[in-house]
């Protein structure tokens, strides 16, 4: 059961697929050279949207969950990529401390953590789990869905405060799977002797989507120039709006102006390509995650007339963070379907390698809506036949491996943007 585009893909994305397949050696060399200049984040997942006339990343997650949704037969690829990463950061590494979110009762999330532990163990590491929450002072037993039990222990400073670890566990590498929405914890500050991955400024307390998409603009400009394609085909327009206060109804006019500016640019492109769809934008918290604080708007006036429920929804996101800065992002329709449900591809990367992906499928959402909605039912569907090489002879749009290759290229552009973004926003480099 593979998602198929309900409509035949338009010429633009078919052309893009053909260009990427025909130029594989150039594309791969371009990435190889780029990774000489930038260090990829340890891991990353990218949400894509395929509108038929356009294919673009809409979200780049530096603390990916969902490893349990990858096909099991892709795991050796993940192990190999993780080996390559570990070797770079700390070749002598023996112990790795993994810091998950504080969701000990979310079985899906725990399954992802278990899968991640399996992958990391195969790279030659002893893995222990550490909790950040200051409410948890004692070890906490956790049971995975396969019945195995582990104990999550409070993270503390060890070795006279020089290092981060557990009571009897001194890691070489600390891997965050906690996005730090609740703030940068004291226990992780000023870590100089260990590799802390990703760095603290990748956490949502510091990170901003607008910085990411600004870096993506640059990356795509260079990539598109090499291939001679219109960068818009793989890049959503965006704008940033500060001093918004949904609860107090402040900043609405400025936001409406930004929405209008983005919609105007999108309409111009739609006319250029003869696209009949209705343009829309997604407004989302510049520092938000978990599909919270997101709304779809197709007319600037809508933001001036939000009802209480809508304003509440946009005001507060994960871990009670108040929204003051938003990203206004060109909306990309999703034309992929599983049966009748809207589907969007999510691509997973470790180090600089694509290690798998799946479709996020949400039957209760429309083509212009965010699918990563809390509470909404979603059915992950691992990419199938991704584990074969692209077929240079296939007709565009007919080969699944070729489509997955295209998805992998676009996701890697977002990965590279994340690397650029993290370097530019590194507080130690300012």
């Amino acid at each position: 059961m593979i998602p198929n585009l309900v409509t035949v893909m338009d010429r633009q994305v078919l052309d893009l697929e053909k260009t990427l397949i025909d130029s594989t050696s150039m594309v791969e060399r371009w990435f190889r050279m780029a990774w000489q200049d930038y260090t990829p984040p340890f891991y990353c997942s990218v949400d894509l949207r395929n509108a038929g006339f356009k294919l673009a990343p809409v979200d780049t997650n530096l603390f990916p969950g969902g490893f349990n949704n990858l096909a099991a037969d892709m795991l050796p690829l993940a192990v190999q990529a993780a080996m390559s990463a570990i070797e770079k950061y700390c070749p002598e590494a023996k112990n790795l401390l993994l810091i998950p979110e504080n969701h000990t009762r979310n079985q899906y999330y725990l399954d992802s953590i278990r899968r991640l532990m399996e992958i990391l163990r195969q790279t030659g590491l002893d893995i222990r789990l550490g909790f950040l929450s200051e409410q948890v002072a004692n070890p906490l037993p956790v049971t995975f869905s396969d019945g195995t039990k582990v104990v999550v222990e409070p993270v503390k400073r060890i070795n006279n405060g020089r290092r981060v670890g557990l009571d009897d566990f001194n890691p070489c590498t600390i891997l965050l799977n906690n996005d730090l929405s609740a703030g940068t914890p004291e226990v992780l500050k000023n870590v100089y002797e260990q590799s802390l991955l990703p760095p603290l400024h990748a956490g949502w307390t510091v990170r901003r989507k607008s910085n990411h998409f600004a870096a993506y603009d640059d990356v795509v400009r260079r990539f598109s120039r090499m291939l001679g394609i219109d960068p818009w085909l793989v890049n959503p327009y965006f704008s940033r709006c500060t001093d918004v206060n949904f609860e107090e109804k402040e900043g609405g006019e400025a936001l409406a102006a930004q929405v209008n500016a983005v919609l105007t640019k999108v309409r111009r492109k739609y006319r250029e390509y003869g696209i009949k769809e209705k343009p829309f934008v997604i407004i989302k918290a510049d520092a938000g995650t978990y599909g919270m604080g997101i709304m779809t708007v197709s007319d600037a006036k809508e933001v001036l007339n939000l009802n209480r429920r809508q304003r509440n929804k946009m005001s507060v996101i994960k871990d009670g963070q108040v929204v003051r800065e938003v990203l206004v992002q060109e909306g990309v329709h999703s034309l992929e379907r599983v049966n009748d449900a809207v589907a969007e591809p999510v691509v997973y990367m470790i180090d600089r390698y694509v290690v798998g992906g799946f479709y996020r499928v949400n039957a209760s959402r429309d083509i212009n809506e965010n699918l990563n909605a809390p509470g909404a039912q979603f059915v992950p569907l691992p990419f199938s036949q991704q584990h074969t090489l692209p077929d240079v002879k296939a007709e565009p749009g007919k080969s699944e491996p070729n489509r997955y290759y295209m998805y992998g290229v676009i996701a890697r552009l977002a990965l590279l943007a994340a690397a650029v973004e993290l370097e530019k926003t590194d507080p130690d480099m300012q």
Copy 2:
């Protein structure tokens, strides 16, 4: 259709499997540290034999063919590993010159070359094929079994003789898939500006199996000490004999003495473990390949009474090389079967990663015979389910991924031995 051991595996190999699965993180870390000290060959295939009571490599090939026998769904692993290798040797690489054997009419070999080209193309390289044979002065068209055509061109010195390339092709990396049995060609000597992989002294003009297995002895000694296992369980005894001349019946006494010495050591081990099988040795050319110049002997007296046919067979090997030095290697029975045919696993590695494997199956050979016999029918069978992670909870001997993991570990010990061997035999380091 997976080969299954006809007899239940003996305790020794089951214990080995359990030890390796239980100690995965230690084993992988050991390899990670080892690769800090040694550079793996670009690629390598290792022939293993599983006797139930013992599992050992019997041949390590630095110019592997048979890439076409790997399961297609393992190819992304090969691409990823090749990316990692290329990045190490020449990150800016754009062009790679692949030098195959001069077998333009062997369709199986050409299929392997085609597969290798596909893998390398996906890493971001333009690939061209070059011929070494001095008889071929003009470009030679070659047709692959899928109908695609390529032209193989004579390798020459370019850029005032400073570099190796083709008429209009200046490669950064030269990858040999030609084992140089016919001698080290002048055109490849004194290459300083390009990466020549593997190095010339990996060719059979220079390389000696006895050096490889001496390096393997050292590697296995360290590995076995870490795990607390008897190194013999993964290591065949061997001895080297020089000044042998089968044609002239010279050196027979010395060879018989070596055979006897190895058999005596093997008998002692068989008694120690209560093994009832009949010990034997394999005599093979120390620089030979292609399954030529190999014989099975279970009594030292046999080598004193070789008939003319046997002597002819041992005298001359690939490309007319005369045999003067032989390796006397403890024979390892193969207890694996596909239906009734003897099968032996072959594991493929690129850089330091296992990228696949298959069973070599030969219905016309016995359990103590070399299966890589020229002319003999052999059916390659790709490992199945290798693309899942080991199952730490499985009963020893019941999980295919666990058995493949064990094969991969032993093959990587041979890979590491090859790296040590190449460093020790590097003429520039003498």
